[in-house]
Structures are given as structure tokens and as C-alpha cells.
């Protein structure tokens, strides 16, 4: 990366609850996002992907690790000193219903963002709200309506307009299209692509849907039980996965093509509880190539080529198979 990263996360860890059995939601996660770049966080439940998003925005406090935004460590800052972060990083939520206060009009929902940072007032405020609504493809006249008068897709647009109001550099999009129907999902994906290009937004795009992530993101990080399994460019991760979990995840996602090969290789068993993650490699209990070695040490991320990294003792691409498998 030539440019200074917009966001750099180092050794980020979050435990919920108290010892002896805390929920290990996020464990030693490191990544960075360059200005204007979209990084996808993919994983199943318990992978910690949403927790990472909230940690980055400091909506919850990290247990350890650092979060640098534009070079400044914000991981321990008190709320009072987070004004700049709140201006520069925003969130778009999964649930288009619960993410808008049902008692406020659209005008006030978006206006609140402007007020909080004293960005516009009076008639300039109204103008700006109208402008934001039009940016996300809603008529300005809708500003005096309440959220319940909109469909799911329209609400999601309002949520995006609210996030854009402070002109952020980074958007954390937490499953922004998962609750939407396919046809509406496509509308919102395209809108986010447009906005990204128009405003040069960087994004942390959190999703469980590999297809959506591959479409939206420049790079992808695959998470399992709070740890990064694999990280690299979208193309590399999706078409040349190096980690057995990534491979399994890709194989398990049904393709919308009756001629595509049916799902054959399948992971057995359940995702372990984040309260009692397996020792060593957290994936080993379901891994088709796990060996005794895997229980001993947590595998470090290692480089495949370029900035494509994966955390496995065995490189499936280079036939580094364990003797037993």
C-alpha cells in the first residue's frame, strides 16, 4: 500500500463477559483499509464480524489492540474526544426497521447528523437534507414522512443518507442488504457502488454472503470464531482460496445455476461456541485436513503471494498436505 491507511487495526481483541468463560468475540485481528478502499468482512455467526465494525466505531470498547484512524490511535480515547471519528466514520445497519427511530420524521433523522456536528442550520439544513435524499434516490418531499411510511429498501436509503450527512471517509456497512429482497438488494448494492465512486468512500463491508462481498469489495477478510482465516484481494480469495475454511465456505454457498456442480464436500459438525473455542487453530474441529499439530499452536497469517495471506499450517495450493490426509 502506497498511501497511508485510513484505518489500521492491530491485534484487536474483544471479550464479552467475565472470566473464566468470556465470549471471545474477536481475537487478535489485524487489517487495514486504504482511503477509498472497500474491505469485506465475511463469516458465519460467531465470527465476530459485526463486533469488529462496532469496535472500529468505538461503539464498544476493545479489550486490547489498537485502532488507528488516519494514523491516530483512537482505541482508548474517551467519548468526548471522538468527535472527529464520529465525523469521519459512519455506520449503515442491517435492519432497516430498527435502525430508524419510529417517532422521528425523516427530516429529523437526517437533520440530527447535521446538528450533532453543526454542519448546517436553518434553510441550509433543509436544503442539505433534500440534497441527501436525492443523492440516495428519494424525493426530497419525503422528508416530512415517518419511517413507517417507507418500504424496507427505502428505509435503507434513508439510513445511508443519514450516514452520508456528515460526509464521512469511512462507512461501516453491517449486512446492509441481508434483510432485503433480492430485487431490492440489487438496488441498494448499486446505490452503494455509485456513492462509493462519487464520494471516494472507504468501506468496511460486513456480510455473510460471499457473492455480494465479491461484487462490492476490493479485498476480503474471511473470519471464523473471531479470527482472520484468510485475507487478500477479492479475486484471490474468491477464486484461489488458500485456507480450507474459505474453500468450504465457497463450496457450501449454493450457486444459482442448476448446471453448477452440486455441493459435495461439506463441513461436518457445528460451529463451536465462542465461549469455548478450540485450542490452536479454531477451525481444526471441522477442518478436513486437520492434524494433531493444529491443536498445538495458533497458526499465524502467512503470505501466499502479494498481500494475500492465510492462517493455516498447510498450503493447499502448494500441496503442503499433511501426511495423513
Amino acid at each position: 500500500m502506497s498511501a497511508l491507511p485510513l484505518l489500521a487495526v492491530e491485534g484487536l481483541t474483544k471479550h464479552f463477559g467475565r472470566a473464566p468463560h468470556p465470549v471471545r468475540a474477536v481475537e487478535d485481528v489485524s487489517f487495514h483499509v486504504a482511503p477509498g478502499e472497500v474491505l469485506g468482512l465475511v463469516g458465519e455467526s460467531g465470527s465476530g464480524k459485526s463486533t469488529i465494525g462496532r469496535l472500529v466505531l468505538r461503539l464498544i470498547h476493545p479489550t486490547s489492540g489498537t485502532i488507528r484512524f488516519e494514523g491516530e490511535d483512537i482505541s482508548r480515547r474517551p467519548e468526548r474526544q471522538l468527535k472527529a471519528l464520529r465525523r469521519n466514520a459512519q455506520m449503515v445497519f442491517q435492519d432497516p426497521y430498527a435502525s430508524l427511530n419510529p417517532r422521528l420524521r425523516v427530516r429529523d433523522i437526517i437533520g440530527e447528523a447535521l446538528d450533532a456536528h453543526r454542519l448546517a442550520s436553518g434553510s441550509r439544513r433543509t436544503e442539505r437534507i433534500a440534497e441527501l435524499l436525492e443523492t440516495v434516490g428519494l424525493p426530497a418531499a419525503h422528508m416530512s414522512r415517518f419511517p413507517h411510511e417507507f418500504s424496507g429498501g427505502q428505509r435503507q436509503r434513508i439510513g445511508i443518507a443519514r450516514a452520508l450527512a456528515v460526509e464521512p471517509k469511512l462507512i461501516i456497512a453491517d449486512e446492509p442488504v441481508s434483510a432485503l429482497d433480492v430485487s431490492v438488494q440489487a438496488q441498494v448494492i448499486n446505490l452503494m457502488q455509485d456513492l462509493r465512486q462519487r464520494f471516494g468512500l472507504a468501506m468496511l463491508f460486513i456480510s455473510h454472503d460471499l457473492d455480494v462481498v465479491e461484487l462490492m469489495c476490493d479485498r476480503i477478510a474471511v473470519l471464523y470464531l473471531g479470527r482472520i482465516m484468510e485475507i487478500g484481494s477479492a479475486k484471490d480469495v474468491a477464486s484461489r482460496p488458500r485456507h480450507p475454511y474459505t474453500r468450504a465456505l465457497l463450496a457450501a454457498s449454493p450457486k444459482a445455476d442448476p448446471d453448477a456442480p452440486k455441493i459435495r464436500r461439506m463441513l461436518t459438525g457445528d460451529i463451536p461456541s465462542p465461549m469455548a473455542p478450540p485450542s490452536g487453530c479454531v477451525f481444526r474441529t471441522r477442518c478436513p485436513i486437520a492434524t494433531e499439530e493444529c491443536a498445538r499452536n495458533v497458526p499465524k497469517l502467512r503470505s501466499a503471494e502479494g498481500d494475500h495471506q492465510f492462517a493455516c499450517l498447510y498450503d493447499m495450493a502448494n500441496d503442503e498436505r499433511p501426511a495423513a490426509a
Binding site: 429482497d181 457450501a252 445455476d257 455441493i263 457445528d270
Partner: protein, 334 residues
């Protein structure tokens, strides 16, 4: 296939009405579909399409007294060979079929099992009712069923409560419960939607295996086109309470006839195409399901709609084993 084999389930021109605060609505207004023995029919649609309501009406589980079947037939061929109209069957007779010949698996494994009864008791209850087994042998049967759905340590887990199991395990229990009396028709209402991808794959494989072994017909309700491609023999697509197209899974994905089916497939991120500026863009369908008026329900969002689409009733045209509800399907390039 459905032409030659007599159907197991045949829904004809079904209409369902609900009383609401703002008057009566008809979330289902013209559903025609059929499931042959041993076949999987996927019923596909987005939210508000009426697919779940349709499935509930087969079981007679519409919320009462608000909802009712107001038109059409739900013909079901019983094991005895007799064909009955489930929509007109007295509730007491319908109860004899529920769980015995028609079974259902629901979307939410976390909440679909009774939290205060062990999973064994819940399966055994059904077995005792329909198969007339005693307490001990019913519990034994429950254990066998857990084994059948690949739950490890079935002997021990039969005495566990739902909250002691993961979502995937609970969905297996739901399937075991549904299969416990060897139904000839299984209705699966979004059975994998609440599950993670890797668990979804397991459950889909399980349902397919059981279907092969037991030979039941499956009505599989889903919004996920990937799952449809994975599991279905034939597909029925619904939009705004109506069936708009039916065909074999290959036909639907390769040569969709209804503009909605076509547009829906093109909304998939996997079908994104590179635009002029080099960006990959997915197609989308403008707007959302709005008020349903005269004419074709999809017309307001359809790029091919012309004036005639907005008036009158559009009928479901059936030709061989494909049907489509569109005035212009012959003219529209696939």
C-alpha cells in the same frame, strides 16, 4: 413428469383472504401448482409474494379466525388412494393427516420446538398419536429418528431439551419430527434461511437424502435462488400472491418466460455484468411491490409492460408442463 404421474398435491386457483384492521386483503389470489410423489417443487418468491401463506393453508394452519381459504382447491392424494380437498376438509379429518401424511418444517429452528419438553417427548407425541405406539416404543422410535437425521449420540440426546442444542441440531430435530410418521408430503418453509451457509449445506443434503430414501414429495418454500438450483426438480415462481411461472429447474434458470423471473435472476450478484465504466453492476427491479390494481401485478415494475398489461385479468397459460402468466411472453426476447 407432473403430466404423467398423478399429483400428490394439486393446488388449483387458490385464493386466501385475511381480515385486517383496514378491511379484507387477499395475500394469495391465484395459486396453481402441483407436487408429484418423490419430486421436489420449489416455491419461490420475495417477501409479500404469498408463498408462506400458501404453504400454511395446505396444513390448515392459517391464523384463525382472521385468515381463510376463500376460493380454489387444495387436492391431496391420501395414502389410501382417495383424493381429498384440504380446503374443504373438516378440521378433525385434517388433524388426522397433519403430521401423519403431510408434515412441515418451519423457518425458525430456535423457536419452533417447545422449550419445556425434551426433543424425544416431542417426537414421541406425534408417533403415539398417529402410529398408535406405546410410550416406550414411541420414545425408541424418536431415538431412531434422531439417528436417521444424523444427530450423534441419539440415545442420550433424545432426553435433551431444545435449548441444549444448536440451531442446526434443532432443525435436524424438526426434520426428525416431521419424518417420524413417514409422511408422503413434506412442506419445508424456508428451512435453511435462519442457518449459516455451512449448516445450510448439511440440512439441504439431509433433506435430499431422506427424500431419496423415503420417496416423499417435497414442497420447498424459499426466497434463495441458489437453494432452488441446488434442490428443486421443478420451480414455481410467485409474485404478489400469484403464480407467475412454473417449469423445470433447468427451464426456469435457462429460459425464463416471465419478465419477473428473468429480472429476478438478473438481480443476483453472481450475474453482475461489467458496465461501460468497467464497474460490475447488477440489474435491479425498480420500485417495490406496491398496491395491487387491475391487470398484471408486475406491470408497474416491468420494463416490457405495455398498455394492455394494465387492464383485465392475466390468466396462467399452461403448455406442456410449463405455465406462465404474461400477455407478452412470446414477444419478449429471453
Amino acid at each position: 413428469m407432473s403430466m404423467n404421474t398423478p399429483s400428490l398435491l394439486s393446488i388449483q386457483d387458490l385464493e386466501i383472504r385475511f381480515r385486517t384492521e383496514d378491511g379484507e386483503i387477499a395475500p394469495v389470489r391465484g395459486v396453481t401448482l402441483s407436487v408429484a410423489p418423490g419430486e421436489t417443487l420449489a416455491l419461490v418468491g420475495e417477501s409479500g409474494s404469498g408463498k408462506s401463506v400458501t404453504s400454511l393453508s395446505v396444513m390448515g394452519l392459517l391464523p384463525r379466525p382472521a385468515g381463510r381459504v376463500s376460493g380454489g382447491k387444495i387436492l391431496f392424494r391420501q395414502r389410501s388412494g382417495r383424493t381429498v380437498d384440504l380446503a374443504a376438509l373438516p378440521l378433525s379429518d385434517l388433524r388426522g393427516l397433519r403430521g401423519a401424511e403431510i408434515a412441515m418444517v418451519f423457518q425458525e429452528p430456535m423457536t419452533s420446538l417447545n422449550p419445556v419438553l425434551t426433543v424425544g417427548e416431542q417426537i414421541a407425541e406425534s408417533v403415539r398419536l398417529h402410529m398408535g405406539l406405546g410410550h416406550a416404543s414411541a420414545l425408541k422410535r424418536a431415538e431412531e429418528m434422531l439417528d436417521l437425521v444424523e444427530i450423534p449420540h441419539a440415545r442420550r440426546r433424545v432426553h435433551e431439551y431444545p435449548h441444549q442444542m444448536s440451531g442446526g441440531m434443532r432443525q435436524r430435530v424438526m426434520i426428525a419430527l416431521a419424518m417420524s410418521c413417514n409422511p408422503s408430503l413434506l412442506i419445508a418453509d424456508e428451512p435453511t434461511t435462519a442457518l449459516d451457509v455451512t449448516i445450510q449445506a448439511q440440512i439441504l443434503a439431509l433433506i435430499q437424502r431422506l427424500q431419496r430414501e423415503i420417496g416423499m414429495g417435497v414442497l420447498f418454500i424459499t426466497h434463495n435462488l441458489g437453494v432452488v438450483a441446488e434442490i428443486a426438480d421443478r420451480v414455481t415462481v410467485m409474485y404478489a400472491g400469484q403464480v407467475v411461472e412454473t417449469g423445470s429447474v433447468g427451464e426456469i434458470f435457462r429460459t425464463p418466460r416471465h419478465p419477473y423471473t428473468n429480472a429476478l435472476l438478473n438481480c443476483l450478484p453472481a450475474r453482475a455484468r461489467r458496465g461501460e465504466d468497467g464497474r460490475r453492476v447488477v440489474q435491479s427491479i425498480p420500485g417495490s411491490i406496491g398496491k395491487i390494481g387491475d391487470g398484471c401485478a408486475f406491470a408497474p415494475r416491468c420494463v416490457h409492460a405495455t398498455d394492455p398489461c394494465g387492464v383485465g385479468t392475466v390468466l396462467l397459460e399452461t403448455e406442456m408442463d410449463r405455465s406462465v402468466r404474461c400477455l407478452r411472453w412470446r414477444e419478449i426476447p429471453a
